[in-house]
């Protein structure tokens, strides 16, 4: 049985110590998919800051790609090509091949676990169109997205959770992982290396610290969209996992690539799935023109997200926006009819009604791009093992899902490829971790492994600071939206860099009002803000360095793709004085080559 009444191993100095073969951090799609592999093979615990079913995978709407060819001809090669092209060729093609090939099993696995996919008249899994997915290398849109109404992510999350219940996976819910414990080990020949030996977590209910000693640790902590103001991401997506890795001195890959989803509810950022356009909805500007025809004559509204988002911002910038402030465009679903909206897109229909008071059956819905997905993150190889540089694996450390960068998404993720990613690489992470823990012993914990976290929390709680958490966070988010969103320039990025430096300075003087131990969400918001600041800084710093436009990264001052200089992944390292306010003092950038197997870079036209 899944339970929270865990057997304690011991309590020393108020810190609880546990021992598991595998500890998974994060109970979203990636974390639970890994748990389903790991649970039966090794003693496994899942630590999650949210109840598993609250994870943001549940917000995903549109679908999960797999070339099942249930409704029309399709092949995993085409899917690979679309993924590579969609990612503007920054995709590691060996990984993309694995993604597309294993997609089919991933969908079937989920179906067999109970996921209620929509069905074709023959009773097979139904599929629909999605942006950037095409037949035969770009000839025409193809039906590749398997879906369950417009709550595919919800159904994936529920199904995975249900199977965790079936397997009796142990969850530690509302435990915040705040540090990865690394132990210095002597390889015997005098070389000292660092090996992960556990996780330090903060129990929200009691305010107590827990150390989970583990042979293998899997990070599956999701994205960090909260560095932006307008975002489809949850309040809790603060990039803690990515931040923990960063603070450990491990690199982050391709952080400048953030996806802006074209159709967020204007002003709110709540997502309206691309599936709407897959079903035939059309983007229009103030004059009612279907402007995507001008930009992408072949696939029009179903062009990849980076392109559509850019075109929308362009329309608005050139004065063709709709509304009293001319600051959004319109998503027109009225011709789809109530029937299609109620059966295939019920949730988004309700979102528009609830949050904007607009009924999509009769009126077009105001939309603008919203920060949606982090392409970058913790670099891993195709076995989901975390890398400490371009090639070296950190033994026993894995990452999967949005927090990881394999990289199957390159500079721009195709819609439906992320739900796929979490399943394919979540499974690989779990499976590989099981194999790994069979071959090794526990790495001893260092003395007082919780010291760092205790220090950080005590400092925040005891500070007599005057800065409000919310004020700093708001300023960060506003500035990121202004200077590092769909369009960026050296100037705008330089400005944001400066702002962040100032905010980091102010963060040291931040006030935590709640001094209690139990359910201290105030304290945790302060911690999360620290991660946000760190990550935003890396995003902006990496973005400034990439003087080209590619996928999700659009530089106004360098409008073209530059394969000569930038057909490589960015690797960012924390080095030097982590506390200095000048990013240049503590971020070192490097490059990592892109793996190309079949498809040479071509111009990206749709």
């Amino acid at each position: 049985m899944t339970t929270e009444n865990h057997v304690e191993t011991k309590v020393v100095d108020g810190v609880h110590y546990h021992q598991y073969d595998i500890v998974i951090v994060g109970a979203g799609g990636a974390g639970m998919r890994a748990a389903i592999e790991a649970g039966p093979g090794a003693k496994t615990a899942v630590i999650s800051k949210l109840y598993p079913t609250r994870s943001h995978t549940g917000a995903a709407q549109g679908g999960m790609a797999a070339a099942l060819a249930n409704v029309e001809e399709d092949s995993w090669e085409w899917h690979t090509f679309d993924t590579v092209k969609g990612g503007d060729y920054l995709v590691d093609q060996d990984a993309a091949e694995i993604l597309a090939k294993e997609a089919i099993d991933a969908v079937i696995d989920l179906e067999n676990m109970g996921l209620p996919f929509n069905r074709t008249p023959e009773g097979k899994i139904d599929q629909r169109r999605f942006g950037g997915h095409t037949r035969d290398h770009g000839k025409a849109p193809v039906r590749r997205a398997c879906y369950a109404a417009d709550r595919t992510g919800h159904m994936i999350l529920q199904t995975l959770f249900q199977n965790c219940v079936r397997l009796g996976i142990e969850f530690y819910n509302e435990y915040y992982a705040l540090d990865l414990v690394m132990t210095e080990v002597d390889a015997g020949d005098g070389t000292i290396s660092r090996k992960p030996s556990g996780i330090v977590a903060y129990e929200l209910a009691t305010g107590e610290l827990h150390v989970f000693q583990a042979k293998a640790v899997i990070f599956a902590t999701g994205g960090f969209g909260k560095i932006y103001k307008t975002t489809s991401n949850a309040h809790t997506l603060t990039g803690d996992g990515v931040g923990i890795i960063w603070r450990k001195g491990l690199p982050l890959e391709d952080m400048e690539f953030f996806q802006f989803h074209p159709t967020g509810l204007a002003g709110l950022g709540i997502l309206l799935t691309e599936g709407a356009r897959g079903e035939g909805a059309i983007l229009r500007n103030a004059s009612g023109e279907r402007f995507m025809e001008r930009y992408a004559p072949t696939i029009k509204d179903l062009a990849p997200r980076d392109i559509v988002a850019r075109c929308m911002v362009q329309e608005v910038a050139e004065g063709r926006g709709a509304g009293p402030h001319k600051d959004y465009v319109l998503l027109d679903c009225t011709h789809l009819g109530a029937e299609v909206l109620e059966t295939k897109l019920p949730d988004i229909t309700e979102f528009a009604r609830t949050y904007l008071g607009v009924d999509p059956v009769y009126e077009p819905v105001p939309v603008m791009p919203t920060a949606h997905y982090a392409m970058g993150g913790i670099p891993t190889n195709v076995s989901a093992e975390v890398l400490s540089d371009n090639t070296t694996v950190v033994p026993g450390l894995y990452a999967a899902g949005e927090c990881a960068c394999v990289s199957v998404h390159g500079s721009n993720r195709l819609g439906t490829n992320s739900l796929l990613d979490i399943n394919v690489f979540g499974k690989r992470a779990g499976r590989n971790a099981v194999e790994y823990v069979k071959t090794v012993d526990f790495t001893p914990l260092p003395e007082d492994p919780a010291a760092f976290v205790r220090g950080m929390l005590d400092q925040l709680r005891d500070s007599n600071g005057t800065e409000r958490i919310a004020a700093i966070r708001k300023e960060l988010q506003d500035e990121m939206d202004k200077g590092a969103q769909v369009f960026r320039t050296d100037e705008s990025l330089a400005h944001v860099t400066k702002v962040i430096a100032g905010l980091r300075e102010r963060y040291r003087n931040v006030a935590v009002q709640d001094k209690g131990k139990r359910f201290n969400t105030d304290l945790l918001e302060a911690v999360e803000l620290g991660f946000l600041l760190d990550l935003a800084e890396v995003v902006v710093y990496s973005a400034r360095n990439r003087e080209e436009s590619r996928g999700g990264h659009m530089r106004d001052d360098f409008p073209n793709r530059d394969d000569e200089n930038y057909m490589q992944h960015t690797m960012a390292y924390l080095s030097g004085d982590a506390h200095s306010s000048d990013a240049a003092d503590h971020i070192r950038l490097d490059w990592k080559p892109v793996t190309v197997t079949r498809y040479q870079p071509m111009e990206r036209k749709y």
Partner: protein
């Protein structure tokens, strides 16, 4: 932006003294159940008494008539109206509950059915009350 010093946590603004939680504001479904339960319990207790007094017919006609006589006083007459009201509501709402249990349409339209129950109740009570009170108050 030290815009405002952290407001103190320990001295809450005194709010309306209201220690308990608020009453849950259920709708037709909940209130019909509350009424159903109250009327059910009331009828049950009446029934206990009613069986006992009726049993007096085995004691003697005088004993029975003496007790039943108290049922015919004006005060009891009003009580009988309440009792009949309770029974009629409980009965009609009982039918509603049964319909709701077995018929999907009724499950969806339980609120409408509740108002129909109320409507029927009013009609029945309009038919019964004058007639009964005339009997009670006429000699």
């Amino acid at each position: 932006m030290p815009d405002s010093q952290a407001r103190t946590l320990t001295a809450p603004t005194p709010a309306k003294e209201r220690p308990g939680g608020t009453l849950y504001r259920g709708r037709e479904g909940m209130w019909s159940w509350v009424l159903h339960r109250i009327t059910g319990v009331a009828i049950f207790f009446f029934l206990l008494v009613h069986i006992l007094d009726t049993a007096l017919v085995r004691v003697s006609p005088e004993a029975y008539n003496a007790v039943i006589g108290t049922y015919q006083t004006p005060i009891m007459g009003l009580g009988e109206v309440a009792l009949v009201g309770a029974i009629v509501f409980h009965a009609f709402n009982g039918i509603r509950v049964i319909l709701v249990d077995f018929w999907a349409w009724a499950t969806r339209h339980q609120k409408l059915l509740f108002w129909i129950v109320i409507g029927l109740w009013v009609i029945v009570m309009l038919g019964f009350t004058p007639r009964h009170l005339i009997n009670v108050f006429s000699h």
